[in-house]
């Protein structure tokens, strides 16, 4: 016969020590807030990268290149690959959907005086057909050899001067903004697109960094990739765009480890706080514990009751923390479209934060862990008290 001490006793005891409980809940909430915002950034990065790729696109790079910034593809290779079998054709022009692209990473100077690398992609008009998520929300595409540029929505948000008609400087010349592009929150929104010819003349060399191509609906992407890799004239390789962007998620993995490490450190601090609170609760209720034991409640039910108290505090911290995190991420997204971070190839991209159900679940498990960590020692001390001993102390 081991019956539980009623939950109402637990809950009311928690709320009896209002100030102390509130402080502990606040500490828990701050830790949950920090961890949850970080996690929403991690999943934001993953989402941004995953959404950047098209399921039926391949990326062609030099063999061994880890990103298109460090890759080179000669013009002849582009011309040859265009006519490989299995590539989709543009429904309007009938041209193969192969987008040759050159990327550079010039410095952009922010208003606050700081500088950062922004990815500039030199493209041909076919790029807008290959990257189907990319849409011009304002203005038009850059004309050939005109020094025109379209900027991603996130870049435009970070550089308030970059409106249509504005001038910007990078490389050796000035560029005129003629459009704003959007790409479903993906990393293209953190890029500037210009005509590849302009970029060639500015950089003083004529080659591509990589190719993006769309595989025809009835074709075998793997076979096409093998065909690219097998061509002995150029050491190229092709892989699905999705896979390429997934590999770029290194920064997310690092950030995730960092978050876990930070969460562990802050969590230890917070659980010590909770432990303190619970020890104080046990100390001030020794006579109550003795009475409960004398009435016939078991050690286990005392343990459970005090653990439950710690968990109630932790769960309250979890709820407050997650709510704050949702508010914080919404505010950050509204103000800055997200968080600017170095996503890949050292260029800066804007990542949207969103507290997902997974993040909230993580926060919940994390809080339960903190509650147990903080509550276990005090609860077992309470359970170890002998009733005769405990009753000697006045309520």
């Amino acid at each position: 016969m081991s019956r539980a001490i009623p939950l109402s006793y637990t809950l009311r005891s928690v709320f009896q020590r209002r100030t102390r409980t509130a402080l502990t809940v606040a500490v828990m909430a701050l830790v949950v807030l920090a961890v949850t915002v970080m996690l929403s950034l991690v999943s934001g990065i993953r989402r941004t990268l995953v959404e950047t790729g098209e399921a039926d696109n391949l990326i062609v790079m030099r063999k061994g290149a880890t990103n298109d910034g460090s890759s080179m593809v000669p013009i002849e290779a582009y011309r040859a690959v265009r006519y490989f079998p299995g590539i989709a054709a543009d429904p309007v022009t009938g041209e193969p959907l192969v987008s040759p692209e050159m990327v550079v990473q010039p410095f952009f100077y922010r208003q606050d005086g700081g500088r950062e690398n922004v990815l500039v992609r030199g493209v041909r008009p076919v790029a807008f057909a290959v990257h189907r998520k990319v849409r011009l929300v304002e203005g038009r595409a850059p004309r050939s050899s005109s020094g025109e540029a379209v900027v991603g929505r996130a870049v435009a948000a970070r550089y308030p001067g970059l409106r249509i008609g504005a001038e910007m400087r990078f490389g050796r010349r000035a560029w005129k903004v003629v459009g704003i592009l959007e790409a479903g929150g993906s990393s293209f929104e953190s890029e500037v697109w210009v005509d590849v010819n302009d970029l060639w003349s500015d950089a003083n060399r004529a080659l591509y960094s990589g190719l993006r191509l769309t595989v025809a609906a009835d074709a075998d992407a793997a076979a096409l990739a093998r065909r690219v890799a097998a061509d002995a004239r150029w050491a190229l390789e092709a892989k699905p765009e999705i896979e390429y962007y997934r590999e770029q998620a290194d920064s997310a993995n690092f950030l995730f480890s960092l978050t876990v490490a930070l969460g562990v450190i802050m969590g230890i601090g917070a659980s010590f706080g909770a432990m303190n609170t619970m020890f104080a609760a046990v100390r001030s209720r020794v006579a109550e514990i003795g009475t409960l034991r004398a009435l016939g409640f078991s050690r286990r039910s005392i343990l459970a009751s005090f653990l439950a108290e710690a968990l109630v505090i932790a769960l309250a911290g979890c709820v407050v923390g997650v709510v704050l995190a949702v508010g914080a991420t919404l505010a950050i997204n509204a103000a800055l479209l997200g968080v600017a971070i170095n996503l890949m190839t050292f260029t800066t991209a804007t990542v949207q934060l969103r507290v997902s159900a997974g993040n909230a679940l993580f926060a919940l498990c994390f809080s339960v862990l903190l509650g147990f960590a903080g509550g276990f020692l005090p609860a077992s001390r309470a359970a170890r008290l002998s009733p005769a001993e405990a009753l000697r102390r006045r309520a």
């Binding site: 016969m1 081991s2 019956r3 539980a4 001490i5 009623p6 109402s8 006793y9 009311r12 005891s13 009896q16 006579a287 109550e288 003795g290 009475t291 409960l292 034991r293 004398a294 009435l295 016939g296 409640f297 078991s298 050690r299 002998s386 009733p387 005769a388 009753l391 000697r392 006045r394 309520a395």
Partner: protein, 246 residues
């Protein structure tokens, strides 16, 4: 009802060993209302704890309500306490966050009774001890000392135990409330045939109890010594209580 033979209990305090109880042998028949008296530190609470199964003897045999307590495990002892003993303390020991009625219900949570049945019995117990109905939902903090002790007595009788032990139940009460509590215990003894062991310093208890046991330095006084101790208590009682006020 209660058989103690050669019961000893030692406590270690630093290098010293305190003999809180030293070979106490004691028989209390069922249905008796007895008092345990003695100076502070004489072992009264220790003895009460042992015969109610809250504490264990280091030596000797303890049998209460037909159960040999010395052989029971801690969990078994807890179950036995819940069934057979009602406890009353000097400082009431009510749960401050539970209402009067919830406090009385608490020991019933260890039974298989349904929720409404628990509630019904708790209210009945509160009626028996004479707590006013409008006080049933009050927290202990909102009740007077006398009322709190009534609630505590209701909690002690709600499981219908054979034995009630009370450790200085009037120690923290004014004279009027103390009398009421003693009268109530006596009534429980007479009408419900509860065996009651009362620890007290209060000579007025003499008016209610059927026997007094005296403890001194862990030993039970016997024979002439016991008679003399009882007479001493009677003498203090002989002084008219109100003469001082006049």
């Amino acid at each position: 009802m209660i058989h103690l033979s050669n019961v000893s209990r030692h406590f270690r305090r630093g290098p010293d060993v305190i003999k809180a109880l030293d070979r106490v042998t004691l028989e209390i028949q069922a249905g008796r209302f007895v008092a345990l008296m003695g100076p502070s530190g004489s072992g009264k609470s220790t003895l009460l704890n042992i015969l109610s199964g809250i504490d264990r003897a280091d030596e000797g045999e303890v049998e209460v309500a037909g159960q040999r307590l010395t052989g029971l495990s801690e969990d078994e002892l807890a179950v036995w306490r819940a069934r057979h003993v009602g406890l009353v303390f000097q400082f009431y020991n009510l749960m401050p966050v539970l209402s009067a009625c919830e406090n009385v219900e608490l020991p019933l949570l260890l039974t298989d009774l349904s929720r409404p049945e628990r509630r019904r019995r708790a209210e009945l117990a509160l009626e028996v001890v004479g707590l006013m109905r409008e006080r049933f939902e009050h927290l202990p903090g909102a009740l007077s000392g006398g009322e709190q002790q009534r609630v505590a007595i209701a909690r002690a009788i709600v499981t219908d135990p054979d034995l009630i032990v009370a450790d200085e139940p009037t120690g923290d009460l004014d004279a009027r409330s103390a009398d009421q509590v003693l009268a109530l215990l006596s009534e429980l003894n007479r009408e419900f045939e509860k065996t009651i062991v009362l620890v007290t310093h209060d000579p007025r208890a003499l008016r209610w109890v059927q026997a007094i046991y005296h403890l001194d330095k862990g030993s039970l006084l016997e024979g002439v010594e016991a008679t003399r101790a009882t007479q001493a208590v009677e003498q203090t009682l002989g002084v008219p209580p109100r003469s001082a006020a006049r």
